[in-house]
């Protein structure tokens, strides 16, 4: 009975959405805000990648909320899993293939991650994408050699610093008479590495924070497996 009702609900939802989207002005929608940003975005922010100008400029405040959610999730995860007992058994070391390839991949991932973060305002990518790659770079050695740990306290401090840096860059703009998160510095030549004012700095903070947070989440989850 319950299943029947559930299926009816899902069927109704899917049907309704299908009908609505077929009626909606697909690919010809008004796009009022989008057009405005496409016209003014490069001048107002100085970034070649307009998605970046939205993520950090027009909707930079959303990004702050998003960073806070990741931080909150990491914090709440720490509350749930608690501290690891020192005597808890560790996983055995991984085989040669994983160890060797993690040694090989670590510097590569680090470089790729940093490249993607630094070029976030020019090419596809940015702090979130690069941060995830950084997190993978630091988690891979943990998988290969479970006896080597990354310090939780260090990760937490890194996160706190990166998050605080994001907010402080925003507050600095207020000190200079602007609004919170208003871009500062010279916008530079469009398409060059040193362009976009403070936006690349914000993306570095985002990248470090996302990297530290995801690495922390993974390491903590790995710990929880180990002591069960």
């Amino acid at each position: 009975m319950r299943n029947l009702i559930s299926l009816l609900f899902v069927g109704g939802l899917v049907f309704l959405l299908l009908v609505l989207t077929l009626q909606a002005p697909f690919a010809e929608g008004p796009m009022l805000v989008g057009k405005g940003i496409l016209q003014q975005g490069t001048e107002e922010t100085g970034t070649a990648n307009l998605v970046t100008s939205v993520v950090l400029g027009y909707r930079g405040y959303d990004t702050l909320g998003e960073l806070s959610i990741l931080f909150t999730a990491a914090l709440a995860l720490g509350v749930v899993l608690g501290r690891r007992r020192p005597e808890a058994p560790r996983d055995l070391e991984a085989g040669l293939v994983l160890r060797a390839s993690s040694d090989l991949l670590f510097p590569l991932l680090l470089v790729v991650g940093l490249y993607i973060i630094l070029h976030g305002h020019l090419t596809p990518g940015g702090g979130f994408q690069g941060g995830v790659i950084l997190a993978a770079a630091f988690f891979l050695p943990v998988l290969a050699r479970p006896s080597q740990r990354i310090s939780h306290a260090g990760l937490m401090a890194l996160e706190a610093l990166a998050g605080a840096a994001f907010i402080i860059i925003g507050l600095l703009a207020m000190r200079h008479g602007g609004q919170f998160l208003q871009p500062l510095l010279d916008k530079g030549q469009l398409g060059s590495l040193l362009s976009g004012g403070t936006l690349p700095l914000l993306y570095i903070a985002v990248g470090v924070k996302v990297g530290a947070e995801l690495a922390g989440l993974l390491v903590r989850l790995g710990d929880a497996e180990a002591d069960s």
């Binding site: 609505l20 929608g29 909320g65 909150t72 509350v79 208003q182």
Partner: protein, 482 residues
């Protein structure tokens, strides 16, 4: 330069720093939060007494509708002030951990952001932030029941955010904007159709999870029964109220059509009736409070379903009354949580707490001089003013269910003063809990004394909130840097 953004940003900054600060000095971590909250309260006071309200600021200097704006009016400042005050009152001085401090600051920051936000997707982001922070606070009870209750809450909330995102997608594809003021100008042409109605239902269900709306409120009794008492008080006092404020803004600005109001009326009546009936059946104090909270929020929705200023005022009155009553009752539940039978004779053992409870119970029922009476009165008068068949039925339902509410609350009050209790005597309230509850009681009595000026003030606040052309003008024309 305008410092309104600090109301959101400073609590978040404090939250980022608290866990690391706590490793260096526990005392500093404990004091950082209250200091920031006091500063924010001062800022709220500064803006609400100054003139120039309402105004809007464009974050990042990007003018709306391209950028995100914060809209500051008396209503937003009122809710922001309530948030900071309640978090400050709930601050766990004795036994808090630094994670709890940080989570509380995140909750405060996200709630203030919801109160001020003028952008649909921004509301989604900070709504989710508040959700995750409240998961963390509930789970800090540390019991397996709290884990399970949190997970079930998380699933409903996740489903809600999927529905909310679908609603945002429908709104965006039809209008091409997310700014509430911009939407308000476009809604009469582009959203006054089936697309708009479906988007409203999806967003209503999404936000309704936190607002304890009928259909998506199954998490309420489980979470309130397993979370620490002060956390339940915060959830009932802040989180549900902010969800309601968001719904109110959307209803006034974007989805102001009759079908939406009728739907809200139906869901509100269903919530009120089911909540109060479940509370009548409840056998322990916390779940009784949880179900009664569902009922009260149903009444708020009934209020908002009334069109025009009367509806906004009625809904706000019930919501504010609930803010005064429910957190205090959850403070009492810190030591009274448990079977109702254990509370027999509690009036003799802790007379002060029992007296406070009686006061709150009478106000919840709506006994005349108390503020609860005026709040219910506004709802019923508003419904009568509408005069449709649906509204008359709703009045009958509200009156009948109020009798049920009176029955279970008075039954409990009666047992307080009935002879000796069983051996399992609940401990007396800690001095912290009882004095917090007393503060709320004093607030309630003050509201009773000053009910006429309060009514005038509430009427002007809701009139300001209802003024859509002014809202649009403030955001879209005066949105430049100040």
């Amino acid at each position: 330069m305008n410092a309104v953004a600090l109301l959101v940003v400073l609590p978040l900054l404090a939250a980022f720093l608290t866990p690391s600060l706590g490793r260096v000095s526990g005392l500093a971590a404990k004091l950082l939060g209250p200091a920031v909250l006091l500063f924010c309260l001062g800022l709220v006071w500064h803006y609400s007494t100054g003139d120039g309200l309402p105004f809007s600021i464009a974050l990042g200097g990007f003018l709306p509708p391209l950028g995100i704006n914060l809209y500051v009016d008396s209503l937003a400042l009122l809710f922001a002030g309530i948030v900071f005050l309640l978090v400050l009152l709930a601050w766990p001085w004795g036994d808090g951990s630094r994670e709890q401090y940080a989570l509380l600051m995140l909750l405060a920051g996200s709630s203030a952001a919801l109160a001020l936000s003028g952008d649909l997707f921004n509301i989604f982001v900070f709504y989710e932030l508040g959700a995750v922070a409240s998961f963390g606070l509930v789970v800090s009870a540390g019991t397996r029941a709290a884990h399970l209750a949190t997970f079930r809450y998380l699933l409903i909330s996740g489903l809600g955010s999927v529905l909310f995102l679908l609603g945002v997608a429908i709104v965006y594809i039809n209008t091409g904007t997310l700014n509430l003021a911009h939407l308000a100008t476009l809604a009469p042409q582009s959203l006054n159709n089936i697309q708009g109605l479906v988007a409203f239902v999806l967003i209503l269900l999404g936000v309704g999870v936190k607002a304890e709306l009928f259909l998506v409120n199954s998490w309420v009794p489980e979470v309130y029964a397993t979370a620490p008492g002060w956390v339940s008080g915060l959830l009932a006092g802040i989180v549900s109220k902010l969800a309601i404020l968001v719904l109110l803004r959307l209803l006034i600005l974007v989805f102001d059509f009759p079908d939406a109001h009728n739907l809200l009326l139906l869901l509100g009546v269903a919530g009120f009736v089911s909540g109060e009936l479940a509370a009548w059946w409840a056998r322990d104090f916390r779940r009784l409070l949880a179900f009664s909270s569902i009922g009260q929020l149903g009444l708020v929705f009934i209020g908002f379903s009334i069109s025009g200023q009367a509806g906004v005022m009625a809904g706000l009155a019930v919501a504010l009354h609930h803010v005064l009553v429910k957190p205090a009752l959850f403070y009492l539940a810190e030591s009274w949580g448990g079977a109702l039978g254990r509370l027999r004779g509690a009036g003799g053992r802790s007379p002060l707490a029992a007296a406070v409870f009686v006061l709150f119970a009478l106000s919840l029922i709506g006994v005349p001089p108390l503020p609860g009476f005026w709040a219910k009165m506004l709802v019923i008068m508003g419904l009568a003013g509408e005069g449709g068949n649906l509204q008359i039925t709703a009045i009958a339902a509200v009156l009948v269910v109020t009798v049920v509410e009176a029955a279970y609350l008075l039954r409990l009050v009666g047992s307080f003063y009935a002879g000796d209790g069983p051996e399992a005597v609940p401990s007396k309230q800690g001095p912290g809990d009882i004095s917090r509850a007393l503060l709320f009681a004093v607030g309630l009595l003050l509201a009773m004394v000053f009910v006429l000026p309060l009514g005038d003030w509430l009427s002007s606040v809701s009139g300001e909130a209802m003024n859509v052309p002014h809202y649009v003008a403030v955001v879209l024309q005066r949105g430049e840097l100040q």
